[in-house]
Subunit: 655 residues, 2 copies
Amino acid sequence: MTDTEVSESKCDVLIVGAGPAGLMMAAWMARCGINARIVDKRGTKIFSGQADGLQCRSLEIFDSFGFADRAWKEANHMIEMCMWNPDEKGVITRSDRLPDTPVGLSRFQQIVLHQGRIERFFLDHIKKHSKDGIRVERAVLPESLHIDEAACDDHSPDNYPITVKLRHLTEDEAMPAQSKGSGVGDGLFRSNLAEDDTEELISKSREKEGSTETVRAKYMVGCDGAHSWTRGQLGFQLEGEPTDYIWGVLDVIPITDFPDIRHRCAIHSATNGSLMVIPRENKLVRLYIQLNEIKPDASGRADRSQITPAVILAAAQKILAPYTLSYKICHWWTAYQIGQRVGTNFDFKNRVFLAGDAVHTHSPKAGQGMNVSMQDSYNLGWKIGLVVRGVVKPEVLSTYGAERRQIALDLIAFDHKFSRLFSGRPAKDVMDEEGVSMEKFKQAFLAGNLFASGLSVDYAPSLLIAKPQPDTENNNTANNQHLAPHIPLGMRFPNAQILNQSSARPLPLQSLLKSDSRFHIVLFAGTPTAPAQAERLSTFCALLTSSKTLAPHLHTHIRILTVHAAPRVDVDLLRDFPDVLHPFSEETGWDYDAVFVDERSFHEGGGTAYEGFGVDRERGCVVVVRPDGYVAFIGGVGEEGGRGVERFFGGVFVA
Amino acid sequence: MTDTEVSESKCDVLIVGAGPAGLMMAAWMARCGINARIVDKRGTKIFSGQADGLQCRSLEIFDSFGFADRAWKEANHMIEMCMWNPDEKGVITRSDRLPDTPVGLSRFQQIVLHQGRIERFFLDHIKKHSKDGIRVERAVLPESLHIDEAACDDHSPDNYPITVKLRHLTEDEAMPAQSKGSGVGDGLFRSNLAEDDTEELISKSREKEGSTETVRAKYMVGCDGAHSWTRGQLGFQLEGEPTDYIWGVLDVIPITDFPDIRHRCAIHSATNGSLMVIPRENKLVRLYIQLNEIKPDASGRADRSQITPAVILAAAQKILAPYTLSYKICHWWTAYQIGQRVGTNFDFKNRVFLAGDAVHTHSPKAGQGMNVSMQDSYNLGWKIGLVVRGVVKPEVLSTYGAERRQIALDLIAFDHKFSRLFSGRPAKDVMDEEGVSMEKFKQAFLAGNLFASGLSVDYAPSLLIAKPQPDTENNNTANNQHLAPHIPLGMRFPNAQILNQSSARPLPLQSLLKSDSRFHIVLFAGTPTAPAQAERLSTFCALLTSSKTLAPHLHTHIRILTVHAAPRVDVDLLRDFPDVLHPFSEETGWDYDAVFVDERSFHEGGGTAYEGFGVDRERGCVVVVRPDGYVAFIGGVGEEGGRGVERFFGGVFVA
């Protein structure tokens, strides 16, 4: 058979896979104005099942794109976590209630919404913001990859070192067997108990007259899941081993007398295995059910054919006894084998990158998979975008692997510990050394809760994080953490309620840090009515506008947000703040959305930003925030701080 | 010429006019499942200008339909009101700052968003909820109305006493002159300075071969504006007179050094007239500008041709001096003559109703027009809906005119006073008796602010409001206001933060009162763990389920929301609450969204509902809420309260 070669074309970035990691990448490409393509081998997007937990940090990121409110409105909100354990007679009983999200951690709490809706929010966002009309090309998959290694280090704009041959499938070829008419969504075909079908799809298509095209790209990102074709082409491995634990998943509307069915529950039965309850939207509940009676065979993998919804339900009923459980409505079900694996490499020569399940896989119960995967490409996308646009140095691309591989390792360690504690039989008493101590499980849950929120991420020093290297006390890098002790360098910029100086509208400061590809200078201006501070402010602003490093980038690649601490009614935007802080436009006048005040609002509290961050109310400080919201630099308001900002951006921006 | 008679058809309700009042009516028709039609003489919806203020009560109503969040997100939020008056030298200076919305009044504060977006939210909502496919039929207007008066009192389901001939215009005929190519939106054609064009549209269409159809309807609602054709057909009048005050309106992106341009401002200049600043979304500002130099002619109406954007801007510049004002971008402009008029009649034999500007007109500056208009049809829609469906007695229709005419009179009185104080020259000193005292203006503003929020509405006793008649102390109607002193009978049900008993999710109680055409019983169950209260609760629930009046309507036309005051962890949904409070479904199990608790949440406060409402924590009380959210009845939990609820619904429901 002869394939029809449709065309040969170029794009800046080719994204393989349109799950959450790929869509996050595409969202950045849209916001950065990059000519990108995103392909997916499946013919349709997800309609049910799959991942569903959204952590605080993911919601903060969604908010920076402008669609957290859609998720927040549609989702089920998980508030309380209940722990159920065997009592002395072996009957399950509630042993603890805990807040599901630690109090005060974020503007958001953990919520649950199925992956299909989250993909919808991304698709809408990409459509709205992409000037080049980026859209997911479905039923398209790569079948060959060639990298011109010698050209990888040449970052001139007309260099396309990556050549990929893409194959276009027919609708029928691209439709997973499960989607062809089954009433209930069966997710087994995507489970880690199933073989990957990529090679089969390609070879079947080759047998007929398929169509292919050749794409040349500057960068490529493999978001193509645990069986990643991209990873395979690069010859990289996932390291780690599966366990013997097999779990089933049911998405049902339960009929039950179990009292905590609308809470998240971790239930350890005495001898029948464990169960996790995840209440969802529209009366649905997801049940993760340990299948004690299913064991891996000699190949190390469980036989899929033994697993049916009835088998999973029966296991759940045994665990939940004496409470009853049945259902009339099942939306989706699947099963998987617990295992933790992490990629050896996250990129090839800073040209081809791997993100999401392509570089780390683990058990789904901690609600981490989709979140960490999206956060991988959230870390990577703006870096590629600004390199392609010639704004930042290609060296920043090295920070992706350095920053995200550590997160993947932490995730794997957390999941390894948590999943074994959860899958293990509860100890009968303190003498039962083979059993799992329920107190130990609770402590692991509490410790893991902060990690699981996504808010403990703390990136190491690099050209993007100006904090001292751990082993070099007299590092040249500015260590001004003391100017804002509660805005930790390397972590995401925290939130506080502030007011717009001109309209008095209360706003979360964090909500101003939009994912629009700009760095932010958050200028805590202190008290500009104090003459000495007005002088420092003036010096700092003069330096910004006169600096050859900074001036060309102001407002285009660096947005300045000012938060002062004087009484709102004592200051005037035009009189008390240098023009660069509220720039003038011939068309639309002064910018009234750039200067804010730390003052209590009439209706919504606030007024404790300086106090909460530990910033001096008179002298303030300067914080540089990366386009992904992580704290990059802290300095003082004035000459020295200005020089520090200049030095930081001098290391990042192309001269 | 001969018209083409397209067809003759029937519908339950015919709505004339698709502005905010008509769309609100259509929204109710969609939610009540009524076969309704809505026609509008214009060919397109509003794209710029027109009304823009949304009051707290309107937002609460939008939330009951589920789209307040869209308005809240897109709108500009007005937080502070600044008063500017002449100082002793006659130069304008800021004399006061006040919260624009009184603190603690509502979950919402006043916001500003242009009418076109609000109409969009309604259109989307109607499309989503209408089973019969209700959609606005544009370029369609009535040209004759016949009412079979003898048949009006016969409410049998196959009686259609109203016959209307509808004329279908061509696109060109239906397009206002202004929309045909002008770059800047000119709203004069819709202003009260312009003549109505309805008769002209009809007669022009008649000259050619137009098409018409005949519709027979059970009910008709005229939402067709100040020049209401429907009102004219009924022979009803608007009573009142215009003033000599002419005002211009500019929607611009201002270029100015006036410091409060992003606050709502009332500016009285010494001798050049007054100006109101209404900051809007997308950098726009609406300026209401008194045109001192334009006077009505002998006919009592000002000459439109004298009024241009340049004339209006010049007037604004004089008022604002010494501050400067100019603009490059103008979205819309208009002018109007202040006057207050109110309709003599709100309905004809409870078959044809008038709502909105068709029965009350006034000056736009108080931001009342669209709000009061929408609230007219919000009062009326569910009544017509439930009468058509045969659920409630036709007598409830009489409450529309009784309830809303009083609101219109209050509005007119408020506007009469406020617009004269605002248009008057400020007093030079206390001896200047012809001038307006600025202190008096401020007091009028403060007094008017509560009224303007829409939250002071207090409907009089009727079969829908079980409170004592003012003149009859020993009225048979239950007077149980003391059981919930802060849930006033006749007013909208107030808000408090509560938790879902089963999921611990915090929610505003008010947000549970959906506009889905059902009455609500808010059952403050008190402390069901106290044996005496458990007994009372059981008695009350047994009465609900055994009552011939109530039982057939439970869950379908009456939804029960329970809020108890016991510690959440001490009670169990299935054990402590009778089944009727959380009904069971064979398909979907127990209802977990019907029982709530007054307890503090982990993340969002709350726990003060009983205290705030003044309800006894052990004994609780029962509150019946109308489908539009107004408090209809209060009683105790137990036999007597149950009988009271039965009596109330006995007066309302068709036996």
